[in-house]
Structures are given as structure tokens and as C-alpha cells.
């Protein structure tokens, strides 16, 4: 084949353009993703930024000046503190109970075949798909007509556990599905009974899933506003405090607290991921292959 040679500079210029265009097409979607992620993160940046603001009046909407004062006094507003503590306490109880209940449900749904399994599945999914306002409103109707318990911490706890269960089940279930049963079988071959197998083999291996579910439940509970708004009576949780404060000027300390929560959850999530990696490494343990 004869190679035709065009004058060198001409070729190079065209292919440069072409290359640029190709590069753009190749990376367009990545560039787009970059913008999309920036869009997702902008409000977070604004929240963190405005925690350093020094507003003249009650309203923290325009940037005035940089100050660390509100970080220094971040826990100085007593209503904010008690709301935060209430939220954390509530989330703790709700998480523990919902995770326990949900894990049991997940095990039942994945490991066993039984009559009513599809109905149970349905029962799990429906709360996740119901608008929060309907859940909150119906619970309120329930408590109002029954007359008991009085709207407050207990009703909040009931509500929070209720909507957390579904999420726990889904997370733990997905973890259980991908679970390699052969390790359990090996344990049983070695003489462990069902309970010991569960405790010593299964549980540690699905622990990352349980932790992830617990973290999710905790986050959902701390963040919940709508259902809490309807069922809190006079108890004030952190989001409810913000809602009330929004009317009269949200103190800058709220931004600082939100930032702390954000960083805290980030760290917790990182921890769960590390746990997961560790569990995966454990599960991948295999005896060295022997030559046949």
C-alpha cells in the first residue's frame, strides 16, 4: 500500500480539532457529572459558609463578615441544645429498636419461604412509598382518637421506629442476599448449632449491613421533620426547632450545628464503609487451593 502524504502541518491542525472534539464528546458526560455534583453540594457549602457569618440583625441571609464567634458559642442556646439532645436521644432509641426488629424481619424474608411472604414484602415497601404527610397525619389521627399516649416523646418514638423499620429491612436484606452461605455450612459441618452459627459466623459477616442500616435509620430519625411535626405535641426536636426559629431568625449557631452533624455523619459513613471492606476481606478467606 502506498502511503499518501499530505503536507504535514495541514494534517496536524485538522486532527487537533478533531481530537479536541473527540475529547469533549468522551468527557462531556464527566464534565456534566461534575456540574451536577457541584449543584448537589452548593447548598451544603452555603450552609457551612454561613456558619461563619456575622449578621447584623436576626436574619442570616446576606453575607456580612467572617467570624468564629458563633462557632465558639455553638452550644450556648439552650433551646437549640435541648432540641438537639431530644433528637439524638430519640434517634438512638429508634435506631436500636428499629434495627433489631428490622434485622429479624430481613432474616425471615430472605432465609425462609413461608405463606404470606409476598404480603410481608408488600407491607415493608408501602411505608417507604407513602408520602410522609399521609403517614404523619394518619398517626396523628390515631393518637387523637385513642386519646393516648399524649403527643410527645413517646408518640415521636413510635412514629420514628415505624418509618425506620422498612429501610432497615431493605438494607439488611440486600446484604443477606449477597451472602455466601457456604461459610455457614462450613461452620455447621464443624459442629456448630444454628444459634452458634448465627452468632459467630453470620452476624459478624452481616454486621456491616446492620451497621449501615442503623446509620440510615439514625440519619432518617434525626432529619425527620414532617412526621415529627404532626406527632410531637409540645416536644421539640432539632428540625422542629429550626422550623419554629425560621419565623423569627435562625441563629447562626444552627448552621454550625448542622455542619457538625454533617461532618459527624460523613465520618460515621466512612467508618461503615471501612467495616464493609473488612468484612469482605474476611468473607473472602479461603483455604489455599491444593494441587490435585
Amino acid at each position: 500500500m502506498e502511503a499518501t502524504t499530505a503536507p504535514a502541518p495541514y494534517v496536524r491542525r485538522e486532527s487537533l480539532l478533531r481530537r479536541a472534539w473527540n475529547w469533549l464528546r468522551e468527557h462531556a458526560i464527566n464534565i456534566y457529572a461534575g456540574f451536577a455534583i457541584a449543584y448537589l453540594l452548593i447548598p451544603i457549602a452555603v450552609i457551612i459558609l454561613f456558619s461563619f457569618n456575622d449578621p447584623a440583625g436576626k436574619y442570616n441571609f446576606t453575607w456580612v463578615a467572617f467570624t468564629l464567634d458563633h462557632w465558639k458559642s455553638v452550644f450556648s442556646i439552650s433551646e437549640l441544645n435541648s432540641a438537639l439532645l431530644t433528637s439524638l436521644r430519640l434517634a438512638l432509641f429508634a435506631t436500636v429498636i428499629a434495627t433489631a426488629i428490622g434485622t429479624l424481619m430481613a432474616i425471615a424474608l430472605v432465609r425462609h419461604r413461608f405463606f404470606g411472604r409476598r404480603t410481608a414484602n408488600f407491607l415493608i415497601v408501602v411505608p417507604m412509598a407513602t408520602p410522609e404527610i399521609v403517614m404523619g397525619a394518619s398517626l396523628l389521627s390515631f393518637f387523637l382518637i385513642l386519646g393516648t399516649p399524649t403527643l410527645g416523646f413517646s408518640t415521636l418514638l413510635i412514629a420514628h421506629i415505624m418509618f425506620c423499620i422498612s429501610f432497615v429491612v431493605v438494607v439488611v436484606r440486600s446484604r443477606l442476599i449477597g451472602f455466601d452461605r457456604s461459610l455457614e455450612e462450613a461452620a455447621q459441618d464443624l459442629g456448630a448449632n444454628a444459634f452458634q452459627t448465627f452468632r459467630l459466623v453470620t452476624l459478624p459477616l452481616i454486621m456491616p449491613g446492620i451497621l449501615a442500616a442503623a446509620l440510615l435509620a439514625f440519619a432518617l430519625s434525626v432529619d425527620d421533620f414532617v412526621v415529627s411535626n404532626f406527632n410531637s405535641g409540645t416536644t421539640v426536636t432539632f428540625p422542629l426547632y429550626i422550623f419554629g426559629a425560621a419565623q423569627r431568625g435562625i441563629p447562626v449557631e444552627v448552621n454550625a450545628v448542622a455542619t457538625i452533624l454533617f461532618v459527624g455523619t460523613l465520618i460515621a459513613m466512612g467508618f461503615t464503609v471501612l467495616q464493609q471492606r473488612r468484612a469482605e476481606r474476611l468473607a473472602a478467606v479461603r483455604p489455599p487451593q491444593e494441587a490435585p
Partner: protein, 397 residues
Amino acid sequence: MLNAWGSTDGAGPPNGRVPGLRLLIIAGLALAASLAIAACGGGDDGGIESGSGGDVETVQVSGKPSGDLTISNWPLYIDKQTVPDFEKATGVSVKYIEDVNDNVEFFGKVQPLLAKGESGGRSIMVVTDWMAKKMYDLGYVQNLDKSAIPNVEKNIVPSLRGRPFDPNNDFAVPWQSGMTGLVVRTDLAPDIKSICDLFDPKYKGKVDMLTEMRDTVPLVMKCEGVDLSQATEQDWLDAIDKIGQAADDGQIRRFTGNDYARDLTSGDAVAVIGWSGDAIQLQADNPDIKFVMPKEGCMLWSDNMVIPVGAPNPTAAEAWMNYVYDPKNQAQITDWNYYVSPVSGVKEILQKIDPPAAKSELIFPSEQFTAKCDAAPPLTGEEETKVTQAFNAVVSG
């Protein structure tokens, strides 16, 4: 074999049968059945009780004040020193909660408790005059033991004596009083002088009104020329129609609570219906924000301390009332709030420590300043329901 849904076990849509559809049908039938059964009983929805009405209790004050005192008040309504000072003077430990954001909302929150004779731990609640009366009529509020609050009798300003809803201050002791009128960005809207000006298309989308029905609607009624002492239900409804029209047209930007201040500060709104005390505080940040007394007049209101049924510590509660009616202590509160003080003698004290405040018409209004101002006209139970529903449809719809 992979099917179109990327799964290997044949799962996939086409037969379209929804698991749980059966459950749904069963649930629906169960629902219908139970409703039918319930209807046969024709029952009361038990837990939602109404008030006991009638029998009003009277506070029993005993001995020196001590123990814990829980007070529910509106936010940003007290300075930072008064509570510690009171605690030091009496030894009472005060829990001061700012959970009254809106009269109706607060009522809804505490009503289930009050109906059972409980107050949720509160010994004092601060609600606006009409709400205090409503609670009193429902038997949720106690009569006061006047012997423990001599300062109130002695020092209450003349204009707050003999109020129609509580002529002898039997159950309601004013905390602060105030005026609702126009709060204006005078740099952006210098010629707004009356409520009717808020409907001027020039300011479309830059006007806020209050969600507090008894502030917004009577003011608009005044704009329509209604004499509030003769206001009928139809007058209320007409005014609400007018407001609804303006909302639909986009003339009104938002219905707000205290947060109109945010719109004013940012300039998103140039004029709002707002409260006198807020205006002074806003002016400190932005000198162009001023309270403008509408040509038609303003609304006068008072927020009142009441002692609910089931209050755990009425003795300390009355001690608090007596304490804040001492002009010295009241001056401290007024100097922070900038609302109208219900206690005489405060003006003289402020003249020494904060002369500009002492001179302010908003804190110490003269007869002339408030000549055209009225209290909100009362509504009967049925009227109230109808009017509230109409207003609510405008505000939320």
C-alpha cells in the same frame, strides 16, 4: 438465560400481576367493614375532647414562692437579665420556653392537655387577648388570686384597665402590648401611607401580610371603610375575598409570621403588615425601615399572661407576675422588647437610661397617635369557624 430485564431467573414484568393487590383488596374491605361497624355505634371520637366549660377554678396561692416555674412565651420577648434576676430574688428556678409561635398553633398543641385538666408542666402561658378569652371560656384558664399580685393592680396602665374581655383583670395580666400597622422600607417605597396602598399594583409581589387573621383582616376592613365596632361576618368575608384576590394576582408576595422581617431586610418586600416592636428592632439594623401608622389606623393588641388549669406552681407564677409589674424590672424588659409597656412608671425610668426609647411613640404612644386604632372585633363561635376557614383557604391555598 438473560431476559430483557437483565435477570437470570425469569423475574420481570410482562404478566403485570402486582403482589399485594390481594392484600389491598382485603384491606379495603376490612376498612369498609369496620367503618360500617363504627357507624352503628355512632360513636364519639373519644380522645378528642372538648373543654369542660363553665366551672372556672381560682388559683390558690400558698406561702412563699419556691420550686420550679415553667413559662411558655413568644420568642424574643424578654431580655436576658430578667429571668436570672428573678431567680436570684425569689429562689425559684425558672424554665423559660419560647414555644408560642402562633396563637392557633399553640392552642392546638396544648388543647388536648388542657381538656384533660393538665398544662404540660406550664404555670404561665402568654397568649394574645382573644386567645386568652377563648381559653377562659373553655375553662382552660384559672382566675387569679389578686392578693398575691398587688403590683399589677397598682401599676397597670390606664388604657389596659377595664378591657371588655376581662374588665377586672381576673385572669389575664398583660405582658406587653403592641400595635399592628405598616412596616415599610422608606427608601424603596416612600409613599406607602395606608393599608389600601398595599394593594397598589406598583408594588406587586413586594408586599407581605400576616398569617394572624385578627391583624390582617380587620386592617383590610378598615381600608374598606368598615367601622370595626359594627363589623359583621359579611364584612370579614368581603375583606378576605379582597385579600384572596390580591394573593391570586400575585400582589401579595407571602403571608408571614415574624419572618416578614427577612423580606424587608433583603428588600424582597418593600412594605408589610407588621408589628411595632419589630419595627424598632429592624430599624437598628437598617435605618430605612420604619413603622408607619396607617391612615386608617392600626390594630391594638395585648399579649397576656394566664395561668392554665393544672398549673404546677401558681404561687411562683403570681410571684413572677408581681415581679415584672415593678417598674424597675419592667423597664429592663421594655428596653429590650420595644413594645408598649403595660406598667406605669416605666417611661420615667427609661428617660434616664435610654432617652430615645422614652421618646418613642411606638413604646409610649400618645392618645393622639393611637386615636384611630382598635382592638380586633370579636367573633362568635360559628362566625369564627366560617371566617377562619375562608381565611385559611386564602393563606394556604
